[in-house]
Symmetry: C2
Subunit: 253 residues, 2 copies
Amino acid sequence: MISILILGTGNLGKHLFDVFMVQNGVEIIQVYGRSKNAFSYFNPTNTTSDLVNIKEADIYIVAISDDAISEVSKFLVAKKGLIVHTSGSIPMNILPNKHRRGVFYPLQTFTVNRKVNFKEIPICIEAENKADYELLNELGSTISDKVIQLDSDQRKALHLAAVFANNFTNHMYHIAQEICVQNDAPFELLLPLINETANKIQDLSPFVAQTGPARRNDKGTLEKQLAQLKNKKHRKIYSLLSKSIQKTYGKKL
Amino acid sequence: MISILILGTGNLGKHLFDVFMVQNGVEIIQVYGRSKNAFSYFNPTNTTSDLVNIKEADIYIVAISDDAISEVSKFLVAKKGLIVHTSGSIPMNILPNKHRRGVFYPLQTFTVNRKVNFKEIPICIEAENKADYELLNELGSTISDKVIQLDSDQRKALHLAAVFANNFTNHMYHIAQEICVQNDAPFELLLPLINETANKIQDLSPFVAQTGPARRNDKGTLEKQLAQLKNKKHRKIYSLLSKSIQKTYGKKL
């Protein structure tokens, strides 16, 4: 049985709480939150808003905003347990080196009130010694089929890649919706296409899956579509991304 | 029973053939292709590469490249059947006005050797009179649960929106992969995130679903990530899309 203590009552803290609560091999000792507002969510688990009252546990999971990790972890220096943060972009060594320290980074976008299937979520772990790797691997394996060792640089790169794959992709969806709204066309008709675009690269590389006028270097269509866009911001993005696609295939094909 | 004739032996022609072949209410009279190379695919249906030999049918589905639609359709002027093209960006009236003419546009990305579920694919139809609308609706309904009337302007807008939702989104996946490769991080770890990003907006609007440093206007992280990108093209795209997200929320929130 691994005892854990979750620090953070935000989105990720809640998702981790929900999934660990139902694992036989894991006991959640306590949940720490800066404010008591969210505490009812964690009933009947013990909660505290005072870092001085933090209990003993095998693993402390610091699931708070990047800026606050360093400060909060200072309150845990007297603890014997392993302290991990959950951030993609922050190196492990932001945690005080007096600690046994590590990282437990679930690579997924978490939304309030939206269940995710943890079994499929890669858990990227990092630690300073073999025993702690094994402990994190054991903890991760209770909830996910994909526990992976990554160092801080790899994790940081993956986190940046995720900005393109998630944040920017979602912005593309948003612009598609703006174009639809401006032209009285129903955006929801694009949803099956959006799903298939994501599904396709589960089997094909994005390089092979690319289609469209820029991929074909179809200059006539590119010009026509650019002229069709009413919004200056959309035109700029259309232009830059089309050029980037043309360049990608101009070079390699 | 609706009799159809498919003109075009490319990707879409094959997908339409496959799905109509198994519908009770539809008979495929013939398949026309410019070259005979692909004809074995359509066995035992009659095939021809000579436009003069085109048979009679209720509906002629012109599934060829945009540039060739006008020319090929001229060979059909003597036919009594309804002639439709399958293009998102081309107006209906590119077809000769001597015809009964229309559009039958399946809004999806089609890949060779990759099955799609037609039931979920929106079929956007256009025609010049009620009887032809009904005929296209009947044909579309044999394969899809979503047959929608759209005029040429709406269809053109939707097709342009699809460039963002599909082509540009796939390019974001490609850049994510480039970043992973450059940093020795495994791209496949992003696949569950990519799926969830697409799934999320089946319920939430992309405007609400947006996350990330640009959405939070977190200038510190934006600067750090920009500096982290080694590729000039990636930096340009990161910069423009982050600004576009900041502007989107700066204005509306």
